[in-house]
Symmetry: C2
Subunit: 202 residues, 2 copies
């Protein structure tokens, strides 16, 4: 069986998005335009330097993501919206989206199918594990979703991309998660980020 | 004029000590024995690998530290206690201790003198700058002290030693500090820690 990996970018003070997320500004008050470009400048501005970490974001047998990660906070996304990744998303595997809105599976070009799971993180993970077979399941965030998996003891690995600013408020990674014992598996500096991978020991 | 450098070890969720600090357990509920050995395992268990970062902790023209960093939270430290570093502290320079308890300067062996400053972070820094001359001033923590310097815009550089566990509660770095723009100057992985140095841009 593969691992359950959580992967997220956070400010050095632990936030993965700012307050006041809206449809137009899905990352809220993130010190930039709210698009997430600031938090993810390491991907957008220095892709070559971070190729391995970027490719790893789409390298799993199945994916889990929270509702806000999939689509805008408000609006009719649950009927019309097909995610931020366009007609041919990079996942090329099943993606299980946590939501309160039932919806039929949404196949996309290139092998990605979005499945909408309304009964919580454990059923979503069970479906993702079944779909992934021997491969890993990647939990894509946001922080609220990852916190639930960490708190439930369901994550094997945590990949953090720590970026050089603080937000002070917003959605905080580790909020409500009991203390974790981690093992630093790897740590790699790049110009706009430090990548750290932890094994979750307890 | 030298830089004002803040240097601190924090858990990956941003805490530099746990709750319930006492004289016997100065780091409080830190998931270990409260002595700080757990947070600073990178120093104690792997000193050779982290020699440069350890030496840098005592390499400045003057030092500033908070009251809790100097001595136990309770007790008669302000009259009898001479800090955690023994009779010959490694600083070999003036150390300005922030406190509410006036006390005469305390010279130690090897060139360290503890000065007790009762009128706040700015006078402490002014004295430290004057003593340091062209050399750097190192603000040693704890987080509460560093947060005050960051919030006041008085820090030029922030050195973090990010260790692989979470505490969930305690004294949090960046608490109450307005959002900071940082530049990642260096980042270095070691077995039990990731060292990251940031320039404070705003």
């Amino acid at each position: 069986m593969g691992k359950v990996i959580c992967d997220i970018t956070m400010s050095v003070d632990g936030f993965s998005s700012g307050l006041n997320q809206t449809e137009e500004r899905p990352f809220g008050d993130d010190g930039g335009d709210g698009s997430g470009q600031r938090l993810h400048a390491w991907m957008f501005d220095t892709p070559d330097e971070n190729r391995a970490e970027i490719e790893r974001l789409a390298d799993a047998g199945a994916f889990v993501m929270g509702r806000n990660m999939f689509g805008p906070v408000r609006g009719g996304w649950d009927r019309e919206w097909n995610g931020w990744w366009g007609e041919e998303p990079p996942f090329r595997a099943p993606v299980f989206v946590l939501t309160h809105h039932p919806r039929e599976p949404q196949p996309m070009k290139g092998g990605t199918t979005y499945h909408f799971v309304t009964d919580g993180i454990e059923p979503a993970l069970a479906q993702a594990r079944a779909a992934a077979g021997d491969r890993d399941v990647l939990v894509h965030g946001g922080a609220h979703t990852i916190n639930q998996y960490l708190a439930a003891g369901l994550a094997d690995e945590l990949r953090l991309h720590i970026v050089p600013f603080t937000l002070g408020t917003g959605t905080r990674l580790f909020e409500g998660v009991p203390p974790l014992e981690l093992e630093q598996v790897s740590s790699r500096p790049a110009t706009l980020v430090t990548h750290v991978t932890y094994r979750v020991l307890s």
